[in-house]
């Protein structure tokens, strides 16, 4: 029964000469079966041997992401890798065909990427500069056009231009201006400002000049101005004209205005004072603009072509070059991260690893292969050794079916090394318990069909990029859950709240009463549909389901306790076996096993005609504890005295079990601890002597000793721990049994919901019949189907799933599962590259 436990691990030391570190690690990572152990987790990664290599890879990845960003900006599509195996193969070929040492390929890539990155930056800067220039030219153009519009055409007429300019816009003030004209000269400030700063600018100008200027602002209705630093966002700008008094030269207002303009980072544009010059400049600006635009287009197409280089798809790897480079860097980084787990001593790297048993040959072969391929490279050396420190990792091979269930177990906790793995058992029990709760022929069939569809069209769905893609991973789980829901639906004979009468009910109506057709006949499969038509339907079904739930629960938990015994045998932990497993099992069987026996025994008796004589199982159980030894009335069998004595015996056995669980174990444990302490003390004195002889004190050894010392526990702790364990088990066996009643409760809830939906939506239409009924059914059915899908097929599936999960985690696994292991992390290129490829989706 090896597959119930994790794989046997062997601890190996690996010594790699520094020169061949890359090659050896490269080939080991391709083996997919090694778990490297960090030599000292307290050393930060930056202080490790290969941290600069990792840093280099990181830098290059950042550069690549910059290039990728540019590519996306140009709305080009990158072909992402679909199959990482191809890429791994491709690298293998690539490295084999190179004449130089393999690890120098990173240098090549580095030079290549750095060069391209620099070129790209140059291009981008160039482009930005051109955009900037274009923006400026557009602004200038609009300064001219809008400025003219604000100031009016007559602005350029030499005489009286000031007054005329005002008149065009604000005729009212003409008189006032005319008075001033001649004595004061006006200056003009025309430029462009961001639209969002408009109001602020206006206000500040007003304040600073105390209202002694006239200004007007007009928006530019051109959307070509682009902010290159911010994702090519459109910038909205406005042209403003400020007219202020004060002749030439510098005066207070001029100074202040200039300062403000500077603080708003406004560029100054030339605004000519006469018409001829105006036309000239405008023309100049227009031609410049056209020129810049052409240049811009050219640069852009250059850039386009440049970026296309990164997108070329090679036939070997079936993905873009940039993706290939990225994956290569990720691979390289991973390799060096793994190498960082090694310690440098002299000219060799010393590391340790966990290997699944039997893999040593594979690794030896791989090491030899490296040497054969590259002559002159010193070989690595594998050496098995005793494990140091922590216990071995837990490693299970999973396949597509078991993966999901193993994940369910791992979410709770990774099994301890070599402990029985509940994952495999969950494959069967989980869908079954789900099925008990979700029991319904119709709904179960829907789930079953979904599962079948996903399993059969697996490949098609994967290729078609469908929404269902993400459910593929749990397709087997869905299939099994659907099957058991379907099966249990038959047992309960429940098709969306309607029982099916497929095999012909064994009851018939005789004088307004249901009677059996034949004394000895039973309904072929499941519950007779006639129960649907009687008044005590719910009471009967509930009692039946409850009893079934408790029976299933007790069997499931007893199984859990037995697994604990198997674990104890495997680890040769006889203390646990005799003083925990055996009394626990006996206690459980004598209490709740007895209850199951009573239930089943009661089922075997034909109570027809004397139902009032049937004893209630609950009363029997209560009296067993409250009134032990008393004659049982009404009895289940015989006269009730033999039943009473059996019950008393059961109770006594169960009670005796409690001190057996509670007392011996802590005593033995304490004894063991005492013995160990003595030994340690003896060892210590020996070691002290040894150390005195050997001046070089071994630091590691002393650390180990101190660790052992910490382990020291006194009797109080051990005993309290055992008391807690015992109470947990005793109370747990009661509360957990009750907890299995959720199997009934959820099934009841499901059934009742289905019934309500059926009654509300369909029943009225069916029973009224005729045309009205048909119309009602059309509407009713649409509501029914939606609500069934939403509530029963989505929410209820989720709910039943969660409760099945809970039954496994809490009720079942608490009986035996220690769950304090850690997972085997295999060193694998495929794994790390796959993770990255999945990110792209």
């Amino acid at each position: 029964m090896n597959f119930f436990r994790s794989k046997t691990m062997s601890f190996q030391k690996l010594i790699i000469p520094r020169e061949s570190a890359w090659d050896i690690m490269n080939i080991l990572a391709e083996q997919d079966c090694i778990h490297f152990v960090d030599f000292d987790p307290s050393v930060p990664m930056i202080n490790r041997l290969f941290s600069n290599h990792i840093k280099r890879c990181d830098d290059l990845l950042i550069k690549l992401s910059f290039i990728e960003h540019e590519i996306k900006k140009y709305q080009k599509t990158i072909t992402y890798s679909k199959d990482v195996n191809l890429i791994v193969q491709n690298f293998k070929l690539l490295i084999r065909d190179r004449s130089k040492a393999s690890q120098t390929y990173l240098d090549n890539v580095e030079i290549d990427i750095e060069k391209k990155h620099l070129q790209l930056i140059e291009q981008v800067n160039n482009l930005e500069y051109l955009y900037e220039k274009r923006n400026k030219l557009i602004e200038h153009k609009y300064v001219m056009i809008k400025g003219q519009a604000i100031l009016g055409k007559s602005f350029f007429q030499t005489a009286n231009y000031v007054a005329e300019g005002f008149m065009n816009i604000q005729g009212k003030q003409l008189d006032y201006i005319k008075l001033l004209q001649g004595s004061i000269k006006f200056n003009y400030l025309v430029s462009v400002i961001n639209k969002e700063d408009k109001i602020r600018f206006k206000r500040i100008i007003f304040r600073i000049t105390k209202g002694n200027v006239w200004m007007n602002i007009m928006d530019i209705d051109n959307y070509e101005i682009i902010d290159t630093t911010n994702n090519n966002l459109r910038l909205l700008k406005s042209v403003f004209v400020v007219v202020y008094p004060g002749g030439g030269g510098s005066n207070l207002i001029t100074n202040k205005l200039h300062k403000i303009c500077e603080s708003f980072q406004i560029t100054k544009y030339k605004f000519p004072e006469n018409n001829i010059k105006f036309q000239e400049i405008l023309k100049q600006v227009e031609t410049d603009l056209v020129e810049t635009k052409n240049l811009l287009q050219m640069t852009q197409s250059q850039m386009d072509a440049y970026l296309d280089d990164f997108l070329s798809v090679s036939h070997n790897s079936k993905c873009s070059e940039i993706e290939e480079l990225k994956l290569f860097l990720i691979r390289e980084k991973y390799l060096y991260t793994q190498l960082n787990y090694f310690q440098l001593q002299g000219s060799a790297l010393y590391g340790s690893m966990w290997l699944p048993e039997g893999m040593e040959i594979k690794i030896e072969k791989a090491l030899k292969e490296v040497q054969n391929k590259n002559e002159g490279l010193p070989a690595g050396y594998l050496q098995s050794s005793l494990p140091q420190g922590s216990s071995p990792p837990t490693y299970f091979e999973t396949n597509e079916i078991t993966w999901g269930f193993q994940e369910i177990v791992n979410t709770y906790g990774i099994p301890r090394y070599k402990e029985i793995n509940p994952g495999l058992l969950t494959v069967m029990t989980f869908p079954f318990l789900f099925g008990v709760m979700f029991a319904d022929i119709g709904h179960g069939l829907c789930l079953l069909l979904l599962g079948l569809y996903l399993c059969i069209y697996n490949q098609d769905i994967k290729n078609a990029n469908s929404v269902l893609k993400h459910t593929l991973i749990v397709r087997h789980m869905l299939l099994m859950m659907g099957f058991w829901a379907f099966y249990n639906g038959w047992i309960y004979n429940d098709f969306m709240s309607v029982p099916l009468n497929l095999f012909g009910s064994q009851n018939e109506i005789n004088q307004y009463k249901w009677v059996l057709k034949d004394e000895s006949c039973v309904y072929s499969f499941g519950i007779d549909p006639v129960w649907m038509c009687v008044t005590n339907e719910l009471t009967f079904i509930n009692s039946y389901k409850m009893k079934l739930a408790v029976i299933i629960g007790v069997i499931h938990m007893s199984f859990g306790i037995i697994l604990k015994g198997l674990n104890a045998i495997y680890f040769k932990n006889w203390l646990d076996f005799f003083f925990e497993f055996i009394p626990q099992l006996i206690f459980f069987i004598c209490s709740f096993g007895w209850m199951d026996f009573l239930i089943i025994y009661k089922w075997f008796i034909n109570w027809t005609g004397r139902t009032d004589e049937a004893p209630s199982v609950i009363t029997l159980m209560i009296n067993m504890i409250l009134a032990p030894g008393q004659q049982v009335i009404p009895p289940l069998w015989g006269d009730g005295i033999s039943e009473a004595s059996t019950q008393t015996a059961m109770l006594l056995i169960a009670l005796i079990c409690i001190p057996i669980i509670l007392i011996p174990k802590p005593l033995f444990l304490y004894h063991r601890v005492k013995k160990q302490e003595k030994e340690i003390q003896k060892n210590q004195t020996q070691k002290d002597l040894y150390r005195e002889l050997n001046q070089e004190s071994n630091l590691q050894e002393s650390i180990k000793i101190s660790k052992q010392e910490i382990h020291h526990e006194d009797f109080g702790d051990i005993f309290v721990h055992q008391v807690i364990e015992t109470i947990e088990f005793l109370l747990g066996s009661i509360s957990n049994t009750a907890s299995y009643l959720r199997l009934w409760a959820l099934s009841l809830a499901h059934g009742q919901l289905a019934e309500v939906f059926f009654q509300m939506c369909l029943n009225g239409g069916i029973s009224s019949g005729g045309f009205v009924g048909a119309i009602r059914l059309v509407f009713g059915y649409s509501v029914f189907s939606l609500i069934t899908f939403g509530v029963l097929m989505m929410m209820d599936v989720m709910e039943c799933f969660l409760h099945a999960l809970r039954l496994h985690w809490v009720e079942f696994q608490s009986k035996f599962f220690k769950a304090d292991g850690y997972a085997f992390q295999k060193c694998s290129y495929l794994k790390v590259m796959k993770e990255n490829v999945d990110l792209n989706e």
Partner: protein
């Protein structure tokens, strides 16, 4: 009651900030930072922490000023995000928090302009938490004409109110028949530090009354307590710094200045006001504040301000002592539930963290010996809670 409804509006913002609790550097991480031998090493260490993304683009030999700017930018980004998620009172509250940084920025700009530092450098040194669009326009300041600066630029900024009050108060203090010249003289002699302290005092008082009037009970309880201490510390600092200050030569002048700079809230005001205003030595100051809390203990270790010339890097100054005590209070406030105190505490603690990192960066770049007492002068947020 307000604990029940706190989550309705502010639950999300609080949740985000609780999540950010994980970004604080731990004591072990500080230990590792102390072991860094050079700035590039420190930088690559920080790249393994939560500061990863904000430093990646810089070259390894990052100057301390840029490092500070990057760290602050990150804090500002986080804060902005939370601000964007907030509604109603919380938005107002968060905005009030920002005002403190705005005051700093404005005073720094004024100081820089006075010293004729290039505007670009000044703008690049602005604390991103206290950025507002008008800050660029402070450039129009001419000479010492603060009133026109206020009238032209600051009037419709968030801190305009404080600035106005400040101007009013400083002009009021002049004698009756003042002339324009007097006012100009007043401004010319005014130190930016003085402006900063009085603006901050007004901000603190304003923030206090905001908390008192608008926040819910739990937030009030936490915040008012914190703000009282902050006000007290401010008072003590003002008195402490004015002891033996050469610019304030007459006793009357000292008292009026003190009166202007000390907040009118807190545990010390108004009971001990008379005493502390007249404290002229460290001992009398100790005597003046002994009635409140543990202030006496705080001042016990403070170096004598009269021997200011003897201070050096190692001296544990009053500021350090106060930061330490504040840090403890903020850490407690941060771990409290259902109050706005957590936002305030987060900001303060992150500021402390940035100060720590910068301090360590300084120590590293000066290549001081590892046993130098300066290495111990960092205050680690949340380290007080364990003890």
């Amino acid at each position: 009651m307000d604990l029940c409804v706190f989550g309705v509006d502010d639950g999300y913002a609080e949740a985000i900030i609780r999540g950010l609790r994980a970004s604080f550097l731990s004591e072990a991480q500080y230990q590792q930072m102390k072991n860094c031998a050079s700035i590039p090493e420190l930088k690559s260490f920080l790249e393994e922490t939560d500061y990863q993304n904000c430093l990646q683009a810089d070259n390894p030999q990052i100057p301390t000023s840029i490092l500070r700017q990057r760290l602050k930018k990150k804090l500002a980004d986080e804060f902005e995000y939370i601000e964007a998620q907030s509604t109603g009172t919380l938005t107002k509250y968060l905005f009030h928090l920002r005002c403190r940084f705005m005051i700093d920025n404005v005073v720094n700009m004024i100081e820089g302009l006075k010293n004729k530092i290039d505007i670009e450098i000044l703008l690049s040194n602005i604390d991103p938490l206290g950025w507002f669009p008008e800050i660029k326009n402070i450039k129009v300041l001419e000479g010492d004409d603060y009133s026109s600066l206020y009238r032209d630029v600051l009037i419709d900024t968030p801190i305009g109110v404080y600035f106005m009050k400040f101007l009013e108060e400083s002009i009021e203090n002049l004698h009756e028949n003042r002339t324009l010249n007097d006012i100009q003289n007043l401004f010319r002699e005014m130190k930016p530090e003085y402006i900063r302290t009085s603006l901050k005092k007004m901000w603190l008082e304003d923030f206090y009354s905001f908390c008192e009037s608008e926040l819910m009970a739990t937030s009030q309880e936490v915040l008012l307590e914190l703000l009282k201490f902050e006000a007290d510390f401010k008072t003590i600092q003002v008195i402490y710094n004015s002891i033996g200050n050469r610019d304030l030569n007459t006793a009357a002048k000292i008292i009026t200045t003190r009166k202007q700079l000390c907040p009118t809230i807190g545990n010390l005001y108004p009971d001990c006001e008379k005493l502390y205003l007249q404290a002229m030595t460290l001992d009398t100051l100790r005597e003046a504040v002994k009635g409140c809390d543990n202030y006496r203990d705080l001042l016990k270790d403070a170096p004598d301000p009269l021997k200011r010339e003897e201070f050096n890097v190692q001296t544990k100054t009053l500021d350090d002592i106060m930061y330490d005590d504040e840090c403890r209070r903020y850490a407690l406030a941060f771990d409290g539930q259902g109050s706005y105190g957590v936002f305030y505490a987060y900001l303060k603690l992150k500021e402390q963290e940035i100060r720590n990192i910068i301090w360590l960066a300084e120590m590293i770049s000066r290549k001081l010996a590892k046993n130098h007492p300066g290495w111990k002068k960092i205050i680690i947020p949340f380290s007080h809670l364990g003890k």
